[in-house]
Assembly symmetry: C2
Homo-oligomer: 188 residues x 2
Protein backbone atom coordinates (compact mmCIF):
# COMPACT_ATOMS: atom_id res chain seq x y z
CA UNK A 1 0.00 0.00 0.00
CA UNK A 2 1.12 3.50 -0.59
CA UNK A 3 2.31 5.86 2.08
CA UNK A 4 -0.48 7.12 4.22
CA UNK A 5 -0.32 10.45 6.00
CA UNK A 6 -3.17 8.94 7.96
CA UNK A 7 -4.97 11.72 9.71
CA UNK A 8 -6.48 10.95 13.09
CA UNK A 9 -9.69 8.97 12.81
CA UNK A 10 -10.77 11.31 10.07
CA UNK A 11 -14.28 10.57 8.89
CA UNK A 12 -14.88 10.94 5.20
CA UNK A 13 -16.33 14.39 5.71
CA UNK A 14 -13.68 15.79 8.03
CA UNK A 15 -12.34 18.03 5.31
CA UNK A 16 -9.41 19.97 6.77
CA UNK A 17 -6.59 21.05 4.40
CA UNK A 18 -8.23 18.68 1.98
CA UNK A 19 -5.57 18.91 -0.68
CA UNK A 20 -2.88 17.13 1.35
CA UNK A 21 -4.98 14.00 1.37
CA UNK A 22 -4.12 11.96 -1.62
CA UNK A 23 -6.69 9.78 -3.26
CA UNK A 24 -4.67 6.80 -2.15
CA UNK A 25 -4.80 7.79 1.48
CA UNK A 26 -8.54 8.28 1.30
CA UNK A 27 -8.95 4.88 -0.21
CA UNK A 28 -6.75 3.41 2.45
CA UNK A 29 -8.84 4.89 5.20
CA UNK A 30 -11.98 3.55 3.66
CA UNK A 31 -10.46 0.12 3.37
CA UNK A 32 -9.22 0.14 6.92
CA UNK A 33 -12.66 1.28 8.01
CA UNK A 34 -14.20 -1.73 6.29
CA UNK A 35 -11.71 -4.09 7.87
CA UNK A 36 -12.44 -2.68 11.28
CA UNK A 37 -16.09 -3.39 10.60
CA UNK A 38 -15.25 -6.99 9.80
CA UNK A 39 -13.58 -7.22 13.18
CA UNK A 40 -16.58 -5.63 14.85
CA UNK A 41 -18.99 -8.08 13.33
CA UNK A 42 -16.84 -11.02 14.31
CA UNK A 43 -16.27 -10.04 17.92
CA UNK A 44 -19.77 -8.77 18.61
CA UNK A 45 -21.35 -11.89 17.19
CA UNK A 46 -18.88 -14.13 18.96
CA UNK A 47 -19.54 -12.59 22.35
CA UNK A 48 -23.26 -12.10 21.85
CA UNK A 49 -23.89 -15.74 21.07
CA UNK A 50 -21.53 -17.22 23.61
CA UNK A 51 -23.53 -16.01 26.61
CA UNK A 52 -26.49 -18.05 25.41
CA UNK A 53 -24.31 -20.99 24.43
CA UNK A 54 -23.35 -21.51 28.04
CA UNK A 55 -26.97 -22.03 29.05
CA UNK A 56 -27.69 -24.18 26.02
CA UNK A 57 -24.82 -26.56 26.55
CA UNK A 58 -26.05 -27.37 30.04
CA UNK A 59 -29.27 -28.60 28.45
CA UNK A 60 -27.54 -30.47 25.67
CA UNK A 61 -28.83 -28.03 23.10
CA UNK A 62 -26.99 -25.93 20.57
CA UNK A 63 -27.21 -22.65 18.74
CA UNK A 64 -29.48 -24.09 16.13
CA UNK A 65 -32.07 -24.79 18.82
CA UNK A 66 -31.82 -21.26 20.11
CA UNK A 67 -32.36 -19.78 16.68
CA UNK A 68 -35.45 -21.91 16.19
CA UNK A 69 -36.83 -21.00 19.61
CA UNK A 70 -36.20 -17.35 18.97
CA UNK A 71 -37.99 -17.16 15.65
CA UNK A 72 -40.85 -19.38 16.70
CA UNK A 73 -41.31 -17.23 19.77
CA UNK A 74 -41.37 -14.08 17.69
CA UNK A 75 -43.71 -15.59 15.11
CA UNK A 76 -46.18 -17.85 16.86
CA UNK A 77 -47.89 -20.13 14.40
CA UNK A 78 -45.06 -19.91 11.87
CA UNK A 79 -44.95 -22.71 9.31
CA UNK A 80 -41.95 -24.90 8.68
CA UNK A 81 -41.23 -23.40 5.29
CA UNK A 82 -41.40 -19.85 6.61
CA UNK A 83 -38.92 -20.82 9.28
CA UNK A 84 -36.69 -22.42 6.69
CA UNK A 85 -36.67 -19.20 4.69
CA UNK A 86 -35.50 -17.28 7.74
CA UNK A 87 -32.86 -19.70 8.93
CA UNK A 88 -31.61 -20.59 5.44
CA UNK A 89 -30.82 -24.15 6.32
CA UNK A 90 -32.11 -27.35 4.79
CA UNK A 91 -35.29 -29.14 5.72
CA UNK A 92 -33.34 -31.96 7.25
CA UNK A 93 -31.24 -29.72 9.44
CA UNK A 94 -34.35 -28.03 10.72
CA UNK A 95 -36.21 -31.32 11.13
CA UNK A 96 -33.52 -32.57 13.48
CA UNK A 97 -33.70 -29.44 15.60
CA UNK A 98 -37.49 -29.33 15.65
CA UNK A 99 -37.92 -32.98 16.58
CA UNK A 100 -35.72 -32.39 19.60
CA UNK A 101 -37.62 -29.29 20.62
CA UNK A 102 -41.01 -30.93 20.16
CA UNK A 103 -39.83 -34.09 21.88
CA UNK A 104 -38.68 -32.16 24.93
CA UNK A 105 -41.89 -30.20 25.09
CA UNK A 106 -40.55 -26.79 24.09
CA UNK A 107 -42.52 -26.50 20.87
CA UNK A 108 -46.00 -27.56 19.82
CA UNK A 109 -47.29 -28.10 16.32
CA UNK A 110 -50.85 -27.77 15.15
CA UNK A 111 -52.13 -28.25 11.62
CA UNK A 112 -52.88 -25.10 9.65
CA UNK A 113 -56.47 -23.95 9.58
CA UNK A 114 -56.72 -23.25 5.90
CA UNK A 115 -54.02 -25.69 4.78
CA UNK A 116 -53.85 -28.78 6.88
CA UNK A 117 -50.54 -29.86 5.41
CA UNK A 118 -48.79 -27.15 7.35
CA UNK A 119 -47.36 -27.55 10.82
CA UNK A 120 -47.85 -24.29 12.61
CA UNK A 121 -45.24 -24.02 15.31
CA UNK A 122 -45.53 -22.31 18.68
CA UNK A 123 -43.66 -22.31 21.95
CA UNK A 124 -45.07 -24.13 24.92
CA UNK A 125 -44.84 -22.50 28.34
CA UNK A 126 -41.63 -24.41 28.90
CA UNK A 127 -40.33 -23.26 25.54
CA UNK A 128 -41.18 -19.65 26.26
CA UNK A 129 -39.47 -20.00 29.62
CA UNK A 130 -36.29 -21.35 28.08
CA UNK A 131 -36.31 -18.74 25.37
CA UNK A 132 -36.70 -16.06 27.99
CA UNK A 133 -33.80 -17.39 29.96
CA UNK A 134 -31.59 -17.27 26.87
CA UNK A 135 -32.94 -13.87 25.96
CA UNK A 136 -32.15 -12.44 29.38
CA UNK A 137 -28.47 -13.28 29.03
CA UNK A 138 -28.25 -11.53 25.72
CA UNK A 139 -30.42 -8.67 26.89
CA UNK A 140 -27.97 -7.80 29.65
CA UNK A 141 -25.12 -7.54 27.20
CA UNK A 142 -27.16 -5.55 24.76
CA UNK A 143 -28.72 -3.26 27.32
CA UNK A 144 -25.28 -2.32 28.59
CA UNK A 145 -24.11 -1.54 25.10
CA UNK A 146 -27.22 0.50 24.30
CA UNK A 147 -26.96 2.44 27.54
CA UNK A 148 -23.32 3.33 27.07
CA UNK A 149 -23.74 4.19 23.42
CA UNK A 150 -26.86 6.34 23.71
CA UNK A 151 -29.98 6.70 21.65
CA UNK A 152 -28.43 8.29 18.61
CA UNK A 153 -25.85 5.54 18.38
CA UNK A 154 -28.55 2.90 18.67
CA UNK A 155 -30.42 4.44 15.80
CA UNK A 156 -27.24 4.42 13.74
CA UNK A 157 -26.54 0.84 14.71
CA UNK A 158 -29.93 -0.18 13.43
CA UNK A 159 -29.49 1.67 10.19
CA UNK A 160 -26.15 0.08 9.41
CA UNK A 161 -27.20 -3.43 10.41
CA UNK A 162 -30.27 -3.10 8.28
CA UNK A 163 -28.15 -2.01 5.36
CA UNK A 164 -25.90 -5.05 5.67
CA UNK A 165 -28.70 -7.56 5.36
CA UNK A 166 -30.45 -8.64 2.19
CA UNK A 167 -33.77 -7.44 0.90
CA UNK A 168 -35.89 -10.26 2.22
CA UNK A 169 -34.47 -9.83 5.69
CA UNK A 170 -35.20 -6.12 5.56
CA UNK A 171 -38.77 -6.89 4.62
CA UNK A 172 -38.98 -9.25 7.55
CA UNK A 173 -37.61 -6.61 9.89
CA UNK A 174 -40.12 -4.09 8.62
CA UNK A 175 -42.88 -6.52 9.50
CA UNK A 176 -41.45 -7.16 12.94
CA UNK A 177 -41.13 -3.48 13.69
CA UNK A 178 -44.62 -2.75 12.49
CA UNK A 179 -46.09 -5.41 14.71
CA UNK A 180 -44.34 -3.96 17.68
CA UNK A 181 -46.20 -0.70 17.27
CA UNK A 182 -49.61 -1.72 16.01
CA UNK A 183 -50.65 -4.74 17.99
CA UNK A 184 -53.16 -5.83 15.38
CA UNK A 185 -53.42 -9.43 14.40
CA UNK A 186 -52.03 -10.16 10.98
CA UNK A 187 -53.70 -12.47 8.47
CA UNK A 188 -51.42 -15.48 8.95
Amino acid sequence: MSDRKAEPSSRPAAAPPADTKTLASLLFLREEEMRLAQDLLFFAYRDFTCVADRVLSELGLGRAHHRALHFIGRNPGISVSELLAILRITKQSLARVLSTLVGRGYVTQTPGRSDRRQRRLSLTQAGAGLERQLFERQRERLAGAYREAGGTAVEGFRRVMRGIMEHDARAYMDGAEREAHEPRARPA
Copy 2:
Protein backbone atom coordinates in the same frame (compact mmCIF):
# COMPACT_ATOMS: atom_id res chain seq x y z
CA MET B 1 -44.68 -15.17 32.46
CA SER B 2 -48.27 -14.32 32.07
CA ASP B 3 -50.20 -16.79 30.04
CA ARG B 4 -51.23 -15.32 26.80
CA LYS B 5 -54.23 -16.79 25.12
CA ALA B 6 -51.71 -17.69 22.50
CA GLU B 7 -53.80 -16.02 19.87
CA PRO B 8 -52.45 -14.06 16.94
CA SER B 9 -49.29 -12.43 18.14
CA SER B 10 -51.13 -9.89 20.28
CA ARG B 11 -48.64 -7.62 21.98
CA PRO B 12 -49.27 -6.79 25.64
CA ALA B 13 -49.37 -3.01 25.60
CA ALA B 14 -51.68 -1.34 23.17
CA ALA B 15 -49.96 2.05 23.51
CA PRO B 16 -52.77 4.53 22.96
CA PRO B 17 -52.53 8.20 24.21
CA ALA B 18 -49.06 8.86 25.51
CA ASP B 19 -49.81 9.45 29.19
CA THR B 20 -51.37 6.06 29.53
CA LYS B 21 -47.97 4.54 28.91
CA THR B 22 -47.53 2.44 31.96
CA LEU B 23 -44.22 1.28 33.29
CA ALA B 24 -45.09 -2.11 31.89
CA SER B 25 -45.49 -0.75 28.41
CA LEU B 26 -42.19 1.08 28.64
CA LEU B 27 -40.51 -2.08 29.77
CA PHE B 28 -42.20 -3.88 26.97
CA LEU B 29 -40.84 -1.48 24.43
CA ARG B 30 -37.37 -1.97 25.79
CA GLU B 31 -37.78 -5.69 25.54
CA GLU B 32 -39.06 -5.49 22.01
CA GLU B 33 -36.13 -3.26 21.20
CA MET B 34 -33.76 -5.93 22.45
CA ARG B 35 -35.49 -8.63 20.46
CA LEU B 36 -35.27 -6.55 17.34
CA ALA B 37 -31.56 -6.27 17.99
CA GLN B 38 -31.31 -10.05 18.18
CA ASP B 39 -32.92 -10.21 14.78
CA LEU B 40 -30.54 -7.59 13.44
CA LEU B 41 -27.49 -9.45 14.62
CA PHE B 42 -28.72 -12.70 13.14
CA PHE B 43 -29.61 -11.37 9.72
CA ALA B 44 -26.67 -9.05 9.34
CA TYR B 45 -24.22 -11.77 10.28
CA ARG B 46 -25.97 -14.32 8.12
CA ASP B 47 -25.87 -12.13 5.04
CA PHE B 48 -22.45 -10.68 5.69
CA THR B 49 -20.78 -14.06 5.91
CA CYS B 50 -22.66 -15.74 3.10
CA VAL B 51 -21.18 -13.56 0.37
CA ALA B 52 -17.73 -14.81 1.31
CA ASP B 53 -18.94 -18.38 1.77
CA ARG B 54 -19.79 -18.60 -1.88
CA VAL B 55 -16.20 -17.90 -2.88
CA LEU B 56 -14.82 -20.17 -0.21
CA SER B 57 -16.88 -23.19 -1.15
CA GLU B 58 -15.56 -23.06 -4.69
CA LEU B 59 -12.09 -23.52 -3.26
CA GLY B 60 -13.13 -26.21 -0.83
CA LEU B 61 -12.55 -23.92 2.12
CA GLY B 62 -14.85 -22.84 4.89
CA ARG B 63 -15.54 -19.95 7.17
CA ALA B 64 -12.90 -21.06 9.58
CA HIS B 65 -10.28 -20.58 6.90
CA HIS B 66 -11.57 -17.11 6.16
CA ARG B 67 -11.39 -16.09 9.78
CA ALA B 68 -7.82 -17.31 10.03
CA LEU B 69 -6.83 -15.53 6.82
CA HIS B 70 -8.47 -12.35 8.02
CA PHE B 71 -6.75 -12.17 11.37
CA ILE B 72 -3.39 -13.30 10.04
CA GLY B 73 -3.67 -10.66 7.37
CA ARG B 74 -4.45 -8.00 9.91
CA ASN B 75 -1.71 -9.14 12.27
CA PRO B 76 1.26 -10.30 10.24
CA GLY B 77 3.62 -12.32 12.38
CA ILE B 78 0.91 -13.31 14.84
CA SER B 79 1.67 -16.38 16.92
CA VAL B 80 -0.54 -19.43 17.14
CA SER B 81 -1.61 -18.74 20.69
CA GLU B 82 -2.49 -15.13 19.95
CA LEU B 83 -4.64 -16.34 17.09
CA LEU B 84 -6.27 -18.91 19.34
CA ALA B 85 -7.19 -16.19 21.83
CA ILE B 86 -8.91 -14.22 19.09
CA LEU B 87 -10.76 -17.07 17.46
CA ARG B 88 -11.63 -18.81 20.73
CA ILE B 89 -11.37 -22.26 19.28
CA THR B 90 -9.19 -25.16 20.31
CA LYS B 91 -5.66 -25.84 19.23
CA GLN B 92 -6.81 -28.80 17.18
CA SER B 93 -9.45 -26.91 15.30
CA LEU B 94 -6.96 -24.24 14.41
CA ALA B 95 -4.26 -26.78 13.58
CA ARG B 96 -6.51 -28.34 10.97
CA VAL B 97 -7.29 -25.02 9.39
CA LEU B 98 -3.69 -23.82 9.45
CA SER B 99 -2.27 -26.99 8.00
CA THR B 100 -4.62 -26.61 5.06
CA LEU B 101 -3.71 -22.97 4.57
CA VAL B 102 0.01 -23.63 4.85
CA GLY B 103 -0.27 -26.69 2.63
CA ARG B 104 -1.98 -24.71 -0.10
CA GLY B 105 0.54 -21.93 0.12
CA TYR B 106 -1.70 -19.25 1.59
CA VAL B 107 0.16 -18.90 4.87
CA THR B 108 3.83 -19.03 5.82
CA GLN B 109 5.31 -19.71 9.22
CA THR B 110 8.64 -18.52 10.52
CA PRO B 111 10.10 -19.14 13.97
CA GLY B 112 9.97 -16.24 16.40
CA ARG B 113 13.08 -14.10 16.75
CA SER B 114 13.20 -13.93 20.54
CA ASP B 115 11.33 -17.18 21.16
CA ARG B 116 12.05 -19.80 18.60
CA ARG B 117 9.24 -22.04 19.79
CA GLN B 118 6.73 -19.73 18.26
CA ARG B 119 5.38 -20.01 14.74
CA ARG B 120 4.82 -16.52 13.50
CA LEU B 121 2.19 -16.60 10.81
CA SER B 122 1.90 -14.40 7.76
CA LEU B 123 0.05 -14.44 4.48
CA THR B 124 1.85 -15.30 1.29
CA GLN B 125 1.07 -13.32 -1.83
CA ALA B 126 -1.49 -15.94 -2.76
CA GLY B 127 -2.98 -15.75 0.73
CA ALA B 128 -3.19 -11.99 0.58
CA GLY B 129 -4.82 -12.29 -2.82
CA LEU B 130 -7.44 -14.71 -1.61
CA GLU B 131 -8.13 -12.66 1.48
CA ARG B 132 -8.57 -9.60 -0.67
CA GLN B 133 -11.01 -11.41 -2.91
CA LEU B 134 -13.09 -12.39 0.11
CA PHE B 135 -12.77 -8.94 1.57
CA GLU B 136 -14.00 -7.28 -1.60
CA ARG B 137 -17.26 -9.19 -1.48
CA GLN B 138 -17.92 -8.11 2.05
CA ARG B 139 -16.69 -4.60 1.40
CA GLU B 140 -19.33 -4.06 -1.23
CA ARG B 141 -22.08 -5.00 1.15
CA LEU B 142 -20.65 -2.92 3.92
CA ALA B 143 -19.87 0.10 1.81
CA GLY B 144 -23.47 0.20 0.62
CA ALA B 145 -24.74 0.05 4.17
CA TYR B 146 -22.32 2.74 5.34
CA ARG B 147 -23.19 5.01 2.45
CA GLU B 148 -26.93 4.73 2.95
CA ALA B 149 -26.69 5.10 6.69
CA GLY B 150 -24.34 8.07 6.82
CA GLY B 151 -21.39 9.01 8.99
CA THR B 152 -23.28 9.59 12.20
CA ALA B 153 -24.95 6.20 11.93
CA VAL B 154 -21.61 4.53 11.30
CA GLU B 155 -20.19 6.08 14.42
CA GLY B 156 -23.19 4.81 16.38
CA PHE B 157 -22.85 1.39 14.85
CA ARG B 158 -19.29 1.20 16.01
CA ARG B 159 -20.17 2.32 19.51
CA VAL B 160 -22.88 -0.27 19.95
CA MET B 161 -20.89 -3.13 18.44
CA ARG B 162 -17.99 -2.26 20.65
CA GLY B 163 -20.28 -2.32 23.67
CA ILE B 164 -21.56 -5.77 22.84
CA MET B 165 -18.15 -7.38 22.81
CA GLU B 166 -16.09 -8.38 25.82
CA HIS B 167 -13.22 -6.51 27.35
CA ASP B 168 -10.41 -8.33 25.65
CA ALA B 169 -11.98 -7.81 22.27
CA ARG B 170 -12.35 -4.10 22.98
CA ALA B 171 -8.69 -3.94 23.88
CA TYR B 172 -7.86 -5.67 20.62
CA MET B 173 -9.99 -3.20 18.69
CA ASP B 174 -8.27 -0.30 20.38
CA GLY B 175 -4.97 -1.67 19.20
CA ALA B 176 -6.24 -2.18 15.68
CA GLU B 177 -7.61 1.34 15.48
CA ARG B 178 -4.43 2.82 16.82
CA GLU B 179 -2.30 1.00 14.30
CA ALA B 180 -4.45 2.31 11.52
CA HIS B 181 -3.47 5.84 12.38
CA GLU B 182 0.14 5.58 13.43
CA PRO B 183 1.85 3.43 10.87
CA ARG B 184 4.71 2.63 13.25
CA ALA B 185 5.91 -0.90 13.63
CA ARG B 186 4.99 -2.39 16.97
CA PRO B 187 7.40 -4.32 19.20
CA ALA B 188 5.92 -7.79 18.64
